[in-house]
């Protein structure tokens, strides 16, 4: 077991990668065996992620040096700096890893029935597992170039999955837009990495953080990294591609794409706090993030309330909710240099933002899955054509209500817990942030009520007489996420103490991240 935990960072990345390639020969032999491989490998990854999380909560940051005689040998003999690829998993990385592992498993389970009538299912699961690999790599790597490689893996597989249902023309357009936006973002990230490497001869984040001087080139690199990652998360006004791509993917993939957006947001936080944390002009960058975050919240929700396509409606809400996270963590960044303000409300604001990532990672994929369930039987995403579906789809209706109450921040659901943390803390920074947050929450509830009435309420419509509840595996996929919502609803303090505060502290404590790499000379 000790060896398993020692090697768990690389195993968590390698297992889905190996399974991705194994699905092809196994899928040719047996469909059931392929499905068992996909679900089995992802279940084992969930186990490994929780085992690693427990280890990190006891022993602190977990390092894994690839190619070294010992996994914690970060700097080879005769070298002054780390030269090998290092996976560095701290409280924030593993927090993201937990989210990614659970949502991936739920999405794969949901897909078993959701794509059962599609052709090329083996390719679908290969791409899904590759996206899982890319996501874990982005979260666990301590190396900038490695991050670029993993974001490319996640983006290319994501684009292919968006376009997977080739019989729909809009999926091809959505996939094309996603790959163009991802390619531009990746190119800018690579360019920024080049600017840093040219100056410091380093790619390791910890070692770079120690050496960085905040020169003009560093500032340009910071802007390129931050805005490229912000575009990948769908920050307004760079969100325009987001509903075009997310609304046309299979619902299970849309749920996973939301988490890849979180992974890009995590990377932006890592850049601001860990890489540039010691030198950054925190109030200026913090305010930039807050202003764009406010825009993201407001424009996202006002566009959502206007939509008639159920998946576009949910995509715009995903944009809007991401704004809460930007604002919460942005406030923490703005007061990063002021120890008193950071202790008074900065850490709470960051915790609220990070807590909202967790909550959003459960209710948003759940809502996308319910949207997929509606599409599964009605064959349309158009809310104007729906009505009375609660008569036939009782499970979907209940799960939609859970997701709706949660995203709208209605007590006692988990969305309320993170929103109250954000509201109370960011109010101390500037009251307008809380006021905007509450208005956005009201509009969120209003728009979800509208969609609920349109799709589920009213008399049974004659065109949907034959509609029935979705298959069990789709229900199980949704129930996994709903169970997560119920757990966080009941035990908010447990989750905050065990996962959220360690994640926020991992971002604030830049020294610990640097020392784990540079101070680990044997």
């Amino acid at each position: 077991m000790a060896a398993l935990i020692t090697h768990s960072p690389i195993l968590i990345i390698a297992i889905p990668l190996a399974a991705a390639f194994l699905t092809i020969p196994i899928g040719m032999a047996s469909r059931k065996a392929r499905n068992a491989l996909v679900i089995g490998s992802l279940t084992f990854v969930v186990f490994l992620v929780f085992a690693l999380a427990r280890d990190i909560s006891i022993n602190g940051i977990h390092l894994y040096t690839l190619g070294a005689t010992s996994p914690d040998l970060t700097i080879p003999t005769g070298f002054m700096v780390p030269v090998r690829i290092i996976l560095e998993v701290d409280g924030m990385s593993i927090f993201m890893g937990i989210i990614w592992s659970i949502v991936s498993l739920a999405a794969a389970t949901y897909s078993l029935s959701h794509i059962s009538s599609e052709t090329g299912q083996t390719r679908f699961y290969t791409l899904l597992l590759l996206m899982v690999t890319g996501g874990f790599g982005m979260m666990f790597t301590g190396d900038l170039f490695n991050f670029f490689v993993f974001i490319e893996i996640a983006s290319i597989s994501g684009a292919a999955l968006i376009s997977f249902r080739t019989r729909f023309a809009d999926t091809q357009e959505g996939g094309f837009k996603y790959i163009v936006v991802s390619a531009i973002a990746s190119l800018m990230i690579l360019f920024a990495i080049g600017l840093l490497y040219a100056q410091y001869n380093l790619l390791n984040i910890g070692a770079l953080a120690q050496a960085i001087q905040y020169t003009t080139l560093d500032k340009i690199a910071l802007a390129l990294l931050l805005i490229a990652l912000a575009m990948k998360t769908g920050m307004v006004p760079l969100h325009l591609w987001f509903p075009d791509s997310y609304s046309v993917a299979p619902a299970s993939i849309t749920g996973m794409l939301v988490i890849t957006s979180h992974a890009c947001m995590y990377a932006a936080f890592r850049i601001c706090f860990t890489l540039y944390g010691g030198v950054i002009n925190a109030p200026v960058v913090g305010w930039i993030i807050i202003i764009f975050g406010l825009l993201t919240m407001f424009v996202g929700v006002t566009m959502a309330v206007f939509q008639k396509d159920v998946m576009r409606f949910m995509s715009y809400h995903a944009v809007s909710q991401l704004g809460y996270m930007w604002v919460g963590v942005g406030v923490g960044l703005a007061v990063l240099g002021n120890t008193e303000l950071l202790a008074t409300y900065g850490r709470d604001a960051m915790s609220g933002g990070i807590f909202h990532i967790l909550n959003h990672a459960m209710y948003k994929p759940l809502l996308f899955f319910t949207g997929g369930a509606l599409f599964h039987y009605t064959g349309t995403r158009d809310l104007t054509k729906m009505g009375g579906l609660a008569h036939k789809m009782k499970w979907t209706t209940i799960l939609y209500i859970i997701g709706t109450l949660s995203i709208s921040g209605i007590p006692p659901l988990n969305g309320f817990s993170s929103k109250i943390l954000i509201y109370e803390s960011v109010y101390q920074f500037h009251p307008i942030l809380t006021i905007t947050g509450i208005i956005v929450s009201i509009l969120t509830l209003a728009s979800f009520t509208k969609a609920f009435h349109s799709a589920f309420m009213g008399a049974e419509l004659p065109e949907y007489k034959e509609v029935k509840e979705v298959p069990k595996s789709m229900i199980i996929g949704m129930v996994i996420l709903a169970a997560g919502i119920v757990f966080v609803t009941l035990f908010p303090s447990l989750v905050v103490d065990w996962a959220i505060h360690p994640a926020a502290d991992a971002l604030i404590d830049q020294g610990a991240y640097i020392n784990a790499v540079t101070g680990a000379i044997p």
Partner: protein
């Protein structure tokens, strides 16, 4: 206590909320039980009564999504006209926005660096 979330200024306990919710539900159920006992589910009593008028078919009486919040959209018509103009659906425009926001961010960071 794992149920109590301290926000730094106040606290939130979902358990209290759930207990209060259950009590309210019990009270509601009590009043419902005292209601009319003569109701028969599958008779004309369960049919819609529209002051004697003919009741439209299900698809005609369902309020569709396009008719909800009409007043809200009319009030914010100018805002929506402007915001919808940005959503062109053209990928070239999306990338132009990226270039513009990146350029502004670089300029802000450089100016802020000079001021520092």
């Amino acid at each position: 206590m794992t149920f109590i979330l301290e926000s730094g200024y106040a606290f939130w306990n979902p358990l209290i909320w759930i207990i209060v919710f259950i009590i309210v539900m019990v009270i509601v159920y009590f009043f419902r039980r005292r209601g009319q006992k003569g109701y028969k589910k599958d008779t004309d009593q369960a049919q819609i009564f529209l002051c004697g008028e003919e009741v439209p078919e299900a698809e005609q009486r369902h309020i569709r999504v396009g008719n909800i919040y009409w007043g809200f959209f009319e009030t914010l018509k100018e805002y929506y006209d402007q915001i919808l103009r940005l959503h062109t659906g053209i990928i070239n425009d999306y990338i132009l926005w990226f270039v513009a926001v990146t350029a502004i961010s670089v300029i802000v960071l450089l100016i802020a660096g000079l001021a520092k």
